[in-house]
Amino acid sequence: MADRGNFGGTFGGGARARARRRATGLAFVLGCVLCGVLGGALPAIAAEGPASRVPKPVVAISAPGQCVEDTQFMLRNHMEILKHHRDQTVHQGVRTTQHSLANCVACHASKATGRVTGSKDAFCESCHRFAAVTLDCFECHADHPPAGIATNAALPGVVPR
């Protein structure tokens, strides 16, 4: 009785372990595929490789190398930086311009239209369309620099990286 119990227990455990191994393997493969897709897609935005049939977003940067952080870092983390700065500004009244949305807009607004949204080639919209990520900022925020600030110029107090 005790043996059967042991046997049954061992058998059941082996089946669970196999199922877990299978699930882990599947998750690993899925993870690899996803990483490949995302990891491959993001650097492709910045890289200027040979012509490809894969459609890519148009990222026109008028002052390259002048961003407040590294380009690859900004590609992945701009939303976190903006969220952090937004909470500091709204709740504490911190008004530094280095990581403010207003500064992003001032520098990255299109030379033709003076805006970062509104067309498929606009700086924010082009990437967000490509990645199919909703861009909610500009339902409330202005997508053009404030009056008196030249387009493609940083706001006062900004230090380029």
């Binding site: 009244g93 207003a102 409330c140 202005a142």
Partner: protein, 243 residues
């Protein structure tokens, strides 16, 4: 020569003494006079407030209202669903007393009912006493609109375009007077106060209620002023004189 040196040293010593006058731990007279640097959070040592003098406010003038609309990108329409952050109110004694006129806006209460009822924490009071709505957190439930005894809050019913870069606003959020927080943070006075002064009425005085030396504190100490609905004990930051 030695006389000049002596005088110069005396002046330098006075300057050092002035710069070091401590009002509260960590707050000196020098710092307050210089304003707050952009990287420094708003401080509890300051409580911003306004004093409205109804005797100086002209009933036919709405400079504060139009200045507010212009500064904050409000349409200026007066339909039941359009936003209005400051409005002129006429008070008339029905027994034949004189009519009074005064602007009413968010009173920036020390005990704000809008903050008490907000289910998401979007309504909040900043350290320096300014009551604001964090639109990133506002779900548009409008509890605060109901709770405010001054009817100071508006709901944005329609999509908004061409917002001011300094004043983001959009459909589905509640909003109200921000005391022009974007201007205060850059050492400028609110737009309504500036416009009122430009007309020559000078009916609105803006200042730091926590600083006993400020003009607003001295006027409140000198003259009889009142809060609107003092029975509610909300301790508003906006006070009225001559009502």
């Amino acid at each position: 020569m030695s006389g000049i040196d002596h005088a110069r040293r005396q002046i330098l010593a006075w300057g050092a003494a002035m710069a070091g006058v401590t009002l509260a731990p960590g707050v000196t007279l020098f710092q307050l006079a210089q304003g707050r640097p952009p990287a420094e959070p708003a401080s509890k040592a300051v409580r911003w407030g306004m004093l409205v003098d109804a005797n100086r406010c002209a009933s036919d003038c709405d400079a504060c209202v139009t200045a507010c609309d212009k500064e904050n990108g409000l349409s200026g329409a007066r339909t039941p669903t359009s936003a209005q952050w400051i409005r002129k109110v006429e008070l008339k004694d029905l027994r034949g007393g004189p009519a009074k006129s005064a602007p009413v806006m968010c009173q920036h209460c020390a005990e704000p009912p809008c903050v008490d009822v907000c289910p998401t924490g979007a309504s909040f009071k900043r350290a320096d006493g300014i009551v604001l709505v964090d639109r990133h957190t506002c779900i548009g439930c409008r509890y605060c609109v109901m709770a405010c005894p001054y009817q100071a809050r508006s709901f944005v019913h329609e999509p908004v375009t061409d917002q001011k870069p300094e004043v983001p606003r959009g459909k589905g959020c509640v909003e109200s007077c921000t005391l022009c927080v974007h201007r205060i943070d850059r050492d400028r006075i609110p737009a309504c106060v500036e416009a009122c002064a430009a007309t020559g009425h000078k009916a609105i005085l803006f200042g730091n209620l926590n600083d006993p030396a400020s003009e607003i504190s001295q006027r409140i100490a000198q003259f009889s002023t009142t809060a609107l609905r003092p029975d509610l004990k909300l301790n508003p930051g906006v006070r009225y004189q001559g009502l």
